[in-house]
């Protein structure tokens, strides 16, 4: 499989000012990870361990202080349309309708090559993909949290990205909505064959959705502790998996890492 993202010895330190004293805070160190085309990878770890920092680095929102990050063999110098991001808090613009929120992304990527009608069709297709055709004229404050997150996913997918980067996309949703969206996400990923990198703190979600789960050690100066290969067959069915011994083993491995090896003393 072709490598789409290569992360080599990446570290991230921030300049911080605390009590008027300048200091350095090392968030990440020595991260090396390859992500292959079509693969689903989860980043899991305790809160504050720098999983979102790593995702932002891949997105190009921040630059690493050391190491090399490549996407498609080229250095990641900033955000690009081949790497779409779904934010934790949906980040829809409240003054635009669902349609216009998605259209904004479509326009940016395809306006140079396609006509108005095609752009509008792309927007509608993206909303249809997440099952929200009926809500395209609504404003974000008029729809539920789950629907907002779907629009966020539609916005990301509408750019036809090579990689979908998701920062705890379902973290703020209730358990039933979350399960529903996880199932839909699996279908969408299977249909579009997109690569996905997802930050999560939910063990079940990580196992269910990923081919590999990357476990980060506790911060500060977090790094990759272990990587779990999830060999479960696709398509995956959450009901059948509930009694699957392999699913249980994966779960147990993650739990062991999170709650034994990396148990937070202070937490």
């Amino acid at each position: 499989m072709k490598k789409i993202v290569q992360i080599e010895n990446v570290g991230q330190t921030f300049e911080v000012t605390q009590n008027r004293k300048k200091g350095r805070f090392t968030a990440l160190r020595d991260i090396s990870l390859d992500i292959h085309e079509g693969e689903s990878v989860s980043l899991i770890g305790h809160s504050g361990c720098g999983k979102s920092t790593l995702l932002n680095l891949i997105a190009g929102l921040t630059r690493p202080t050391s190491g090399v990050m490549l996407c498609n063999g080229r250095e990641i110098a900033g955000p690009g349309p081949e790497r779409a991001v779904v934010f934790q808090n949906h980040s829809l613009l409240p003054w635009l309708t669902c349609f216009d929120n998605v259209h904004l992304a479509v326009e940016r990527v395809f306006a140079a090559t396609e006509g108005r009608a095609q752009l509008r069709q792309r927007t509608r297709d993206a909303l249809a993909l997440v099952g929200l055709s009926h809500a395209e004229g609504k404003y974000p404050h008029e729809i539920s949290g789950g629907m907002k997150q779907r629009v966020g996913i539609a916005r990301a997918l509408s750019m036809q990205p090579r990689i979908l980067l998701m920062d705890e996309p379902f973290g703020a949703l209730d358990a039933l909505t979350r399960a529903n969206l996880q199932d839909e996400l699996m279908k969408i990923l299977a249909a579009t064959r997109a690569t996905m990198v997802m930050v999560t703190h939910d063990v079940d979600e990580a196992v269910l959705l990923s081919d590999r789960v990357v476990m980060l050690t506790n911060g500060p100066a977090a790094t990759i502790g272990e990587i779990l290969e999830v060999g479960l067959e696709r398509p995956r069915d959450r009901l059948a998996l509930a009694h699957d011994p392999q699913f249980g083993e994966c779960r147990a491995a993650l739990m062991e890492f999170l709650y034994q090896k990396q148990l937070r003393v202070a937490a």
Binding site: P81, V85, S91, W95, L104, A105, R108, P140, H141, E142
Partner: protein, 308 residues
């Protein structure tokens, strides 16, 4: 504000309007107090009408009592004679005055309506130019930190200066009274607009800016789709503060510059020793200021996204 309330924006605005309109009706307390009583007698038994009436009374009664208290104190204070005219005498003068607010007899003797309109025109021009310059300047200051660090000491230095101190400069530069008054309005309206717009720009949620970066939006799109709508509520606050100050300052400026205008009119009536006219002018200035404020509040509510 709840989702339901914002979804039906026109409805909620209408409901909120009732209490805000009340102070403007303060001019006719006797009539307003008399009318509901007779209506209540007529529609006895109409449950919904009664409910509506009670709500109206609840909304209207306290402000009316406040105004009545003001007029009462005023009346008592003028019982012992002195220079201040009593409420009754002022009312009589107002009836005469407002029977023909738009007469013209020479440049220095015009109806109160013309004077108010002339002042509003000056405020409009001065304020309009200030908005044209102040709002873009605010955007620049908010977007470029270096510019903000450059200009902040200058603004801090000039902002507390009374706008009237700028009047002689205006007279010197423009050589005429009228543009000098407009210039004073310009100077006093520009600071709140610059500062509020700049603050709005720096407070645009990082999430929205991240969206802009991830989508790789052009500067123009960032401005029209993200910055402008996000800053609009702050901008409107600046505009509201500016209009309020401008309306305060115009009266003083016109007293000094003369010509036609409500401020000049006050001064003229003082020279004529018609004190009841000055009191009427105070009410008129207050009511016009209130209307300006409420109009902008209505606009601001329309564009407020923070409560959603």
């Amino acid at each position: 504000m709840s989702v339901a309330a914002t979804m039906n924006r026109s409805g909620s605005a209408g409901a909120d309007e009732a209490p805000t309109v009340v102070p403007m009706e303060a001019k006719k307390p006797e009539k307003a107090a008399g009318a509901p009583v007779s209506v209540a007698g007529g529609s006895d038994g109409g449950g919904r009408a009664g409910e509506w009436l009670r709500a109206l009374v609840r909304a209207v009664l306290p402000p009316l009592l406040g105004v009545a208290l003001l007029i009462g104190v005023w009346h008592v204070a003028t019982l012992g004679g002195g220079g201040i005219p009593s409420p009754g005498k002022t009312w009589d003068a107002a009836v005469v005055l407002f029977s023909d607010p738009f007469y013209r007899e020479g440049p220095n003797d015009q109806g109160i309506g013309w004077n108010v309109l002339e002042s509003l025109k000056r405020v409009g021009i001065g304020f309009g130019i200030a908005a044209l310059i102040g709002i873009p300047a605010g955007f620049l200051l908010g977007r470029f930190a270096l510019l903000a660090r450059m200009m902040n000491p200058v603004i801090s230095l000039l902002r507390p200066v009374s706008p009237l101190a700028w009047l002689p400069i205006g007279l010197l530069v423009f050589q005429r009274a009228d543009p000098a008054a407009t210039w004073t309005i310009f100077i006093c309206s520009i600071w709140p607009m610059i500062l509020n717009t700049a603050q709005g720009v720096t407070r645009v949620p990082q999430d929205y800016l991240n969206v802009a970066r991830v989508l790789n939006l052009s500067e123009w799109k960032v401005f029209t789709k993200i910055l402008f709508p996000a800053v609009l509520p702050y901008m409107l606050t600046g505009i509201r503060l500016s209009i309020g100050t401008a309306w305060l300052v115009i009266v003083a400026a016109e007293m000094l510059t003369g010509g036609v205008g409500i401020g000049f009119w006050v001064w003229d009536e003082w020279n004529n020793l018609k004190v009841e006219h000055i009191i009427i002018a105070i009410f008129v200035i207050g009511i016009v200021g209130l209307i300006l404020e409420q109009m902008l509040m209505l606009v601001a509510r329309r564009f407020s996204y923070e409560n959603r």
